[in-house]
């Protein structure tokens, strides 16, 4: 079992562990003598904390700079004790230590009382999902083992814990330096007859993997290693909750595509019948489905995950630079990775005293915030109250993990209704016996939609037709679909004037075109379509319909009239035709072509 020990700097964490190790004979032979000798040599008083501070840097500074892991064993079981640093500079190390733990000790100096990091650590433990916690009121020797002092710390800190919904927390009065109530009950505190650190640690409950919850598995990868004649296509990942069984019908989110489990693969044995939460596994499916890293697999008929691109979250910021609007970051949730921006800050909390600042528009280092994030494309995830694991995320700023948190709710965005319709369509989709992958293999290219947008100009169509011909001459199944062709038939019920539908019908026209694009792409085609103007939101409808990665955009016209970030922009259609080589080059790089 992993247990973390936290607390404000100098409140005696390392001393408590050092003492626990020494008093239970858990140290390697000679270690205690070695450290004592080294202290004597350098004429400094021996401290139990030195036992843990194996690194040279630490002894010179006297603070734990990283989460050190210590192996410890009672009669009941094995423990890894994670000694997390209390110094504010090293909060990211504390987070690292605590995120791996199932239970926590938090040290509070009886003499100094509740300090900034006592509160901050308490808050973080709660956000990191640690449910079992015990507060060690340490250095009781400095307050003459006074019960009143102990009671006062308990009262004060309990009030704080209650305010952050941490209930069921235990307290023990101890002295790490003198060994009181560490491995045995203290004679100095006859008024204490409760647990010692040693008896309490065995009372922490082993956290059970959530095997009985609904099934969840973020797709880590899809393997097809063809060497040594292996033809299996294995969807791999670690099960975060529930149990996977062979024959299960699964749904892949955010696309909503279905598949049935054929075999749960096993490296050196026959396929498994089932795989429980916590297991790193992989399975083949009876039908070929398109899935990729970042998708979330659930069982059909169980609670569906959330999908969306506007999320309300609680997060904790560790980055040197503050978390600000108008800057692009990367969000990692489950196995998904998506570009994102800070959309709004609802509340920024100084975690050390829980003072809130509703006006603050950025999140600074060591702040806790309630805020809204918007992601570049929709992702699948869960809410923290349903499935904690798949609600947890980190934010990457540049090359560094700068923050982490939990998703509280999904905020309906403009695309939400259409996304649900697409999800529903995919759930009902009846695929033939040829998978998209098989078509790609035979045709030698992937299906793609190339949208040609820009102000009204018949020469856009001329360009699109040249593009069609160029692609076709390279053996690509390219098809040009002009808006006029759709208006004449599929959209015959709409009011049309000069090849444009009336504004009230425009959204429906776009939706139909997007659905048509989905069908043609499913058949393996590269579809080229012109749409006059084409706004960002309209392009989003296409991306929602056929999958964001499959849509490419070329803008012909004044770029200042466009809010679409096109793959290729050129001001004039004739110019576009003369630049066909460059256009093809850009499209090729973005997956259009052989």
């Amino acid at each position: 079992m992993n247990v973390v020990i936290t607390g404000h700097v100098d409140h005696g964490k390392s001393t408590v562990i050092g003492r626990l190790m020494a008093d239970t004979n858990s140290l390697p032979e000679g270690k205690l003598e070695q450290v004592k000798a080294s202290c004597a040599r350098n004429s400094k008083p021996f401290e139990y904390a030195f036992l843990l501070d194996a690194l040279k840097d630490e002894q010179s500074q006297g603070i734990t700079i990283d989460s050190a892991r210590v192996f410890f064993q009672t009669e009941k079981r094995h423990y890894i004790i994670i000694d997390a640093p209390g110094h504010i500079e090293f909060l990211k190390n504390m987070v690292t230590g605590a995120a791996r733990a199932e239970a926590a000790f938090l040290c509070i100096d009886a003499d100094e009382g509740v300090q900034e990091n006592s509160r901050r650590h308490g808050y973080l433990l709660s956000m990191l999902g640690i449910k079992q916690m015990c507060v060690l009121v340490n250095k009781m020797d400095l307050v003459n083992y006074d019960k009143k002092v102990y009671k006062s710390v308990v009262r004060k800190y309990s009030r704080f814990l209650k305010s952050i919904d941490m209930n069921d927390v235990r307290f023990i009065p101890v002295s790490g330096r003198e060994g009181d109530n560490i491995a045995s009950l203290s004679e100095n505190m006859p008024w204490w007859t409760g647990d010692t650190v040693l008896t309490l640690i065995d009372k922490f409950q082993k956290e059970q993997a959530p095997v009985d919850l609904d099934f969840r598995m973020p797709v880590q990868d899809v393997y097809k290693f063809t060497d040594m004649g292996d033809n299996r296509r294995i969807i791999a990942g670690t099960i975060s909750s529930g149990t996977l069984r062979s024959g299960d019908e699964l749904v892949v989110y955010p696309s909503g595509k279905r598949a049935t489990v054929a075999d749960i693969e096993n490296f050196n044995g026959p396929p498994l019948e089932s795989a429980p939460a916590g297991m790193a596994t992989g399975f083949t499916t009876t039908e070929q489905i398109y899935t990729k890293r970042g998708d979330l697999v659930v069982r059909a008929g169980e609670k569906a995950p959330q999908t969306g691109n506007v999320l309300r979250v609680n997060l904790f910021w560790l980055g040197r630079e503050p978390f600000v609007k108008d800057k692009e970051y990367v969000l990692k949730v489950g196995s998904a990775r998506v570009r994102m921006k800070l959309y709004d800050t609802l509340k920024v909390i100084d975690a050390s005293n829980l003072n809130t600042d509703g006006m603050k528009k950025m999140v600074e280092r060591h702040d806790v915030a309630d805020c809204v994030l918007s992601t570049k494309r929709p992702i699948a995830f869960d809410l923290v109250e349903d499935f904690p694991d798949t609600s947890r995320f980190v934010i990457v700023d540049g090359y560094e993990i700068a923050g982490g948190g939990i998703i509280r709710e999904v905020i309906r965005d403009k695309q939400a209704d259409y996304r649900n319709r697409v999800l529903d369509r995919n759930l009902r989709w009846d695929t033939g016996n040829i998978s998209c992958e098989e078509r790609t293999a035979v045709y030698g290219h992937k299906p793609r939609l190339v949208l040609v947008g820009g102000p009204e100009d018949p020469r856009k169509a001329a360009f699109a037709k040249v593009l069609e011909k160029t692609l076709f001459s390279q053996g690509i199944k390219a098809y040009y679909l002009g808006v006029r062709n759709v208006l004449a038939g599929l959209d015959a019920d709409m009011t049309v004037r000069r090849d444009e539908v009336y504004p009230e019908d425009r959204e429906e026209m776009i939706r139909r075109l997007a659905e048509l694009a989905h069908i043609l792409l499913d058949s393996g085609m590269v579809l080229i379509s012109t749409v006059s103007y084409l706004s960002f939101n309209e392009r989003e409808i296409f991306r929602t319909s056929v999958a964001p990665a499959k849509v490419r955009t070329i803008w012909i016209g004044d770029p200042s009239e466009s809010d679409v970030d096109a793959d290729y922009t050129v001001t004039d259609a004739d110019e576009a035709i003369s630049q066909m080589e460059q256009v093809m080059d850009v499209l090729q790089k973005k997956g259009v072509g052989k």
């Binding site: 700079i65 989460s67 393997y223 490296f267 980190v394 982490g404």
Partner: protein
């Protein structure tokens, strides 16, 4: 799930994260028990395949059985095997066994330097060509940006501070005071050009876990770990001149597990037979900061 299966699952999860995130990935295989368990985990994670090169740093002072075992498994398991070395130091006899440098300098030259220059592709790499059945100069000289290593946190002090994904700068150095946070199972997979990330899937394993797993999975190991009738065996493998056998009559894996559990070695550090550790102030910190595994 039992403890070994949990450790195995986390190890596989980390290996798969590494494979999904690093284009130029490799795994260090020292031939010892830990990195062989790691190799086994890779074959499990990727269902019999090892989709990245295994890199071995050959000091030319390894115990001969180790190299024979390396090449046997390379053939049997069809492994993408690569080795590197410090040819210059060996040619100039700047080694401890030649009596020209001390132990720490020897480790620095034959291991840390060789490792650095093999990983960044400056010095030649030799790749096993399975068709020709021999090692040939590797055409691939790109720097590895992800390096999987089988260190465990219970081995010695500085390793207990490691992350699962641990960045190294352009000089291969480890800034132990400024390590990235690891929230839950989200790791540092973004890195600046010229830097690389060390990946440690076995961090939470103990020596006993390793042997119990070898027993459970029936993983082949070098004979040097077992007593061949002389009442001695190696507990940790390294270069011949600096690695000493321990007194033990453990003849097979289950004897070793029993021996570890009986507490025979409970109070003796696993690496106590490795002479270079003692010369580095009781820990490997100096060497490890400079890139030693």
């Amino acid at each position: 799930m039992d403890q070994l299966t949990q450790l195995e699952s986390l190890g596989i999860h980390i290996l798969r994260e590494a494979y999904a995130n690093f284009r130029n990935l490799c795994m260090l295989w020292s031939i010892g028990k830990d990195s062989t368990v790691l190799l086994w985990l890779a074959r499990k994670a990727f269902y019999g395949h090892v989709p990245f090169p295994l890199v071995h740093i050959d000091t030319h002072y390894k115990i001969p059985e180790m190299i024979a075992y390396r090449d046997r498994l390379t053939r049997e398991w069809n492994l993408p095997m690569v080795y590197g070395e410090n040819a210059q130091a060996l040619a100039e006899k700047k080694t401890y066994p030649d009596g020209n440098v001390d132990r720490i300098t020897c480790c620095r030259l034959l291991k840390a330097e060789a490792l650095k220059n093999t990983l960044n592709g400056t010095w030649p790499r030799y790749r096993f060509n399975h068709e020709a059945d021999e090692y040939q100069v590797d055409q691939d000289t790109d720097a590895y940006t992800g390096v999987i290593v089988g260190v465990r946190s219970d081995e010695e002090g500085s390793r207990s501070k490691e992350r699962y994904f641990s960045p190294r700068d352009t000089e291969n150095t480890w800034d132990v005071g400024d390590q990235p946070p690891e929230f839950w199972n989200q790791f540092k997979t973004d890195f600046a050009p010229g830097t690389h990330v060390r990946i440690h899937p076995l961090l939470d394993w103990t020596e006993t876990n390793i042997w119990e797993y070898i027993e459970r999975e029936k993983i082949p190991t070098v004979s040097l770990y077992y007593d061949q009738g002389e009442g001695k065996r190696y507990r940790s493998l390294g270069c011949e001149p600096c690695t000493h056998a321990v007194e033990s009559t453990a003849k097979n894996v289950s004897d070793i597990v029993a021996e570890l559990k009986s507490g025979k070695f409970a109070n003796i550090a696993e690496r106590s037979g490795r002479a270079q550790d003692k010369e580095d102030g009781g820990g490997l910190e100096t060497l490890r900061r400079e890139g030693y595994m």
